[in-house]
């Protein structure tokens, strides 16, 4: 059963506009003109309980606006949405108690002078987490997020990575059933990104929480999500599984070959060369031609290593956004 259900969700902002110059500025005092900005245009989708879905799109595509509507921060211009059976923008306490939204740009809000432990205690009281559950969850989160060194530190003095760890602990203390993660790895170093990905994967697996994730980093999506939704110019361009995206939107596969001897064949006769170094090459080959090309490679060359891979997710998504190749699953 769908935990998140969205039908024709649309968000149009009215942005004030005027020509440059004094005259236009004076005129705008009496006659303001607005331009409609269609941030999200009639998108529809469903997310089942326990699913982890990546929400991908270029800047300004409507990802964050959609997440804000689903978490109740924004009220749509039109359309319907239900999260956990509630209309999000009514912001009923029963709904707000079961969701969390974490923004990479601002992982923690509120009193920055408090220590992380103070902030956790505040969350405990706000979300009415029992003492025993609080102790258990804090212990678990402390271990998973390596929070111990942060508990007695003031929130304002934390680095971005530490803020994200603390923000996750604050958001997950009350065990929300639905998580909205908006660019959670924004600005984090490699170690912090790995830790965060591992943590989110463990959390969703052990708690069965449903998660909608936006990120510009494909590795986040590949690590955490089986299903992705591509959004571009406010419209859904793809909604399906990761593997399907490559199959339906890229007619090519990547064949990587390493030769055993010093032979220097004409690689372009096998496919388009996308990478080449001494004795190794990566070829872009049409899907239907892959078996024939492999047969030729094995017959004509002394092969030390050979692999066939889907093209990198970045390049497939880039192709979808640039060329508008859209094939919804």
């Amino acid at each position: 059963m769908a935990l998140i259900s969205v039908q024709g969700l649309t968000m149009t902002y009215q942005a004030p506009v005027r020509q440059a110059g004094l005259k236009a500025a004076v005129v705008s005092l009496f006659h303001r003109e607005y331009r409609a900005i269609n941030a999200v245009q009639g998108i529809s989708f469903e997310v089942d309980a326990g699913e982890v879905v990546g929400f991908i799109g270029p800047n300004g595509a409507g990802k964050t606006t959609t997440l804000k509507m689903l978490s109740g921060i924004l009220q749509p211009t039109s359309g319907e949405a239900r999260v956990l059976g509630c209309v999000p923008w009514k912001r009923e306490p029963v709904f707000l108690r079961q969701i969390a939204m974490i923004r990479g740009s601002q992982p923690i809000g509120g009193a920055g002078e408090l220590t992380v432990l103070d902030a956790l205690r505040f969350q405990q009281l706000l979300y009415e987490v029992s003492h025993s559950e609080f102790q258990r969850n804090v212990a678990e989160l402390t271990e998973m997020l390596d929070l111990q060194p942060l508990l007695e530190r003031q929130v304002r003095a934390l680095s971005l990575g530490e803020r994200m760890r603390a923000g996750l602990a604050l958001a997950l203390l009350y065990r929300p059933r639905v998580l909205f993660l908006d660019e959670p790895t924004l600005g984090l170093d490699v170690t912090a990104v790995r830790m965060l990905r591992r943590f989110v994967a463990d959390y969703t697996r052990t708690t069965g929480a449903t998660m909608l994730l936006t990120s510009h980093y494909m590795a986040d999506v590949e690590t955490l999500c089986k299903r992705i939704m591509l959004i571009d110019k406010g419209q859904l361009a793809y909604n399906g599984d990761l593997a399907g995206l490559a199959i339906t939107n890229s007619p090519y596969k990547v064949v990587k070959v390493a030769v055993a001897d010093e032979a220097q064949p004409d690689w372009s006769s096998f496919g388009e060369v996308v990478e080449a170094e001494e004795g190794k090459v990566a070829l872009r080959v049409l899907r239907q031609e892959v078996p024939a090309v492999i047969t030729r490679l094995l017959a004509e060359l002394s092969i030390a290593d050979l692999s066939v891979e889907e093209p990198p997710l970045e390049s497939v998504i880039d192709q979808v956004f640039r060329e508008g190749v859209v094939r919804c699953a």
Partner: protein, 255 residues
């Protein structure tokens, strides 16, 4: 009951938060204490020998510190910075956080301002009567509620404009002029006094001090309470409407 619990939690949190800004708190308290102390000095010189005036201004100092409101800094800035989006996600009315901050700040103002009150009380000739001080306590509570609602209402202008500080500043000027700081309302010219008594500004500040200083007779005290009770639902209703419209605009144009 849950609302009271939430208010207590938020007040506790903000009390801790402001503890870290104690140096800033001292400057805030001094700023708030300046105008009543100035009034005390000026009016004591203008009307020498009148204990009622000095009693009034010391009482006004206490009321000022107990009713102080900074929603243009706390709440309006949250709208500008987008912090209010975090508040919208919490399972509590957004106003609870603002009110918690307000109460925490008032407690801090009273604590930090206590030495100033004691010194002013030692220097100025005072004549407080316990019965009247007790009679003034409900008026202080109502004044605190009115001043919060008034400042909160003006701070809601942040949903529509970038200059909420200016709007609240204008409101503060009205409280200063007509609320009993620049001059006690009881000393206003007769026609202006009637207007001053009816407007909400005296109900927010001067009235409890007038009651405590023994400046009012029984009928005037009842009338003062009546004005407070009239303005309270008016400002509360205006604040509710303002909030609903403001949050609708905020959630329509981007959080």
């Amino acid at each position: 009951m849950r609302l009271i619990q939430l208010l207590a939690i938020n007040t506790w949190r903000e009390f801790l938060q402001w503890m870290a800004w104690r140096a800033f708190l001292i400057t805030m308290v001094i700023n708030q204490a300046v105008t009543p102390l100035l009034g005390l000095a000026v009016w004591s010189a203008a009307l020498p020998g009148r204990t009622g005036i000095s009693t009034y201004y010391v009482a006004l100092l206490v009321v000022q510190l107990m009713t102080v409101s900074y929603e243009h800094h706390t709440f309006a800035n949250g709208i500008y910075s987008g912090e209010v989006s975090h508040e919208l996600l919490k399972p509590q009315p957004v106003v609870i956080t603002t009110l918690g901050t307000n109460l925490a700040l008032r407690i801090w103002h009273l604590l930090v301002g206590l030495p100033i009150i004691i010194v002013a009380g030692l220097i100025a000739p005072l004549s407080f009567e316990l019965r009247l001080v007790l009679l003034a306590i409900p008026a202080v509570v109502l004044a605190a509620a009115l001043r919060f609602l008034f400042t909160y209402l003006l701070a809601l202008s942040a949903f529509w404009m970038q200059q909420a500080h200016g709007v609240v500043g204008f409101g503060e000027s009205l409280i200063f002029l007509l609320g009993g700081t620049a001059a006690p309302v009881m000393l206003f010219p007769e026609q202006l006094r009637a207007v001053g008594e009816a407007l909400p500004f005296r109900a927010m500040l001067g009235l409890p001090a007038e009651i405590a200083a023994g400046s009012l007779n029984g009928a005037q005290i009842v009338q003062g309470y009546a004005w407070q009770c009239i303005w309270l639902p008016v400002l509360a209703l205006a604040a509710i409407i303002g909030w609903r419209r403001g949050v609708r605009r905020y959630t329509a144009v981007g959080g």
